[in-house]
Amino acid sequence: MNIDTIRQLLASYYDGSASDAEIDTLKRYFTQVSDLPADLRVDAAIFRAMASTQPLPMPADLHRRIVDATIGSSRRRLFVRWRSALSAAAAVALAIMSGLWLLKSNDTAQPGNTVVASTTLSPQIAPDPLPAQSIDEKPAQQVATEPVEIVVRTVHSRATKAQAKPHKRAGYREITDSVQVVEFTSRLLAKLEAPVEGAERGIRYTSEAIARINDPLGSNPSED
């Protein structure tokens, strides 16, 4: 390479405008050529020093460290959140199941003894001053037509110890037959559903009224 070309490249280098390719050319020239003019010896030392720079070896565990600090850290945080959520859900489920188990264990209802109005733990335990009704004495039709006062109360004692407390209000009747229980339950549900049906009718009427307001003449083209 022409020495004048080298001097021009050096001028660009010290001006700060030399490109990467031009700097590489200077490095190759000064590392390959030993017989140099005196004014280029300092430049040769500088470029030989730059060319001798060896890149440091990257630590072998750097990739793993970076993964642990980034992706691994996010996965650990997500795992902790999921574990906490699952633990909380398990605790809630256990509490619910425990409550249901306790509730079920206190309820010693047996077929034929389940009632809506009150609970009787045992047919033998009936210290009730009011006469108990059985299915043989009361036909189902009469039961259906009689007004029933629904009273709900809960007995918390076990079957061997509990005694049903008599209800003192007028019209109270203790039911011991499962068929009557079902019938009373359906009547109760019917009473509860009546207001719901009324609400649905009201909503339907309101929707029809809104439609009439928005389109009082109707959208039937045959009427035009």
Binding site: Y13, Y14, D15, G16, S17, S19, D20, R41, V42, D43, A44, A45, I46, R48, A49, M50, S52, T53, Q54, P55, L56, P57, M58, P59, L62, H63, R65, I66, V67, A69, T70, I71, S74
Partner: protein, 149 residues
């Protein structure tokens, strides 16, 4: 994750012959980039952005370890070992006596192989500023070399 090898090269260029410090700086930089999240996809030149984050990380690291000494243009070299003037260690020693602004730019150019435009993107300087710092730093290096040759 192919960016971190280049970041390691830049980190060693700035920090000198210290592999552990460079690795720590690269790891911290990658964590910062990771925590950027979805915003990283909006960056047009992620490589230059990563280098700028690395640079900031290295500066913070150096400040925590050494107090900041502002060097003016008139430097004085107390003592330079009489080692081979054509060695990289000697060149690094010379560069370490430059003003901080020139040091960084010279190191990124000489040891990290970055172009003037890449240095400008990483440092936030303009191309003209980078060119000016390179010019002053290279001329100062040549002056110091004359004293020992």
């Amino acid at each position: 994750m192919p960016l971190y090898p280049q970041l390691f090269t830049v980190a060693t260029a700035i920090l000198g012959n210290n592999s552990d410090d460079a690795a720590d700086a690269v790891q911290d930089t990658m964590v910062k980039l990771w925590n950027t999240g979805d915003a990283l996809s909006d960056i047009r030149q992620p490589q230059a952005y990563a280098i700028s984050v690395l640079r900031t990380t290295v500066i913070d690291m150096l400040r925590r370890r050494h107090p900041v000494d502002t060097l003016d243009e008139s430097i004085s070299i107390t003592e330079i070992p009489a080692s081979d003037t054509e060695s990289a260690a000697f060149l690094e020693h010379i560069i370490s006596n430059l003003p901080a602004s020139q040091q960084e730019v010279i190191k990124l150019s000489a040891f990290a192989g970055m172009s003037s435009h890449e240095i400008a993107q990483a440092t936030g300087l303009t191309d003209g500023n980078v060119r000016q710092l390179l010019s002053r730093g290279r001329k100062k290096i040549k002056e110091l070399y004359y004293k020992y040759l």
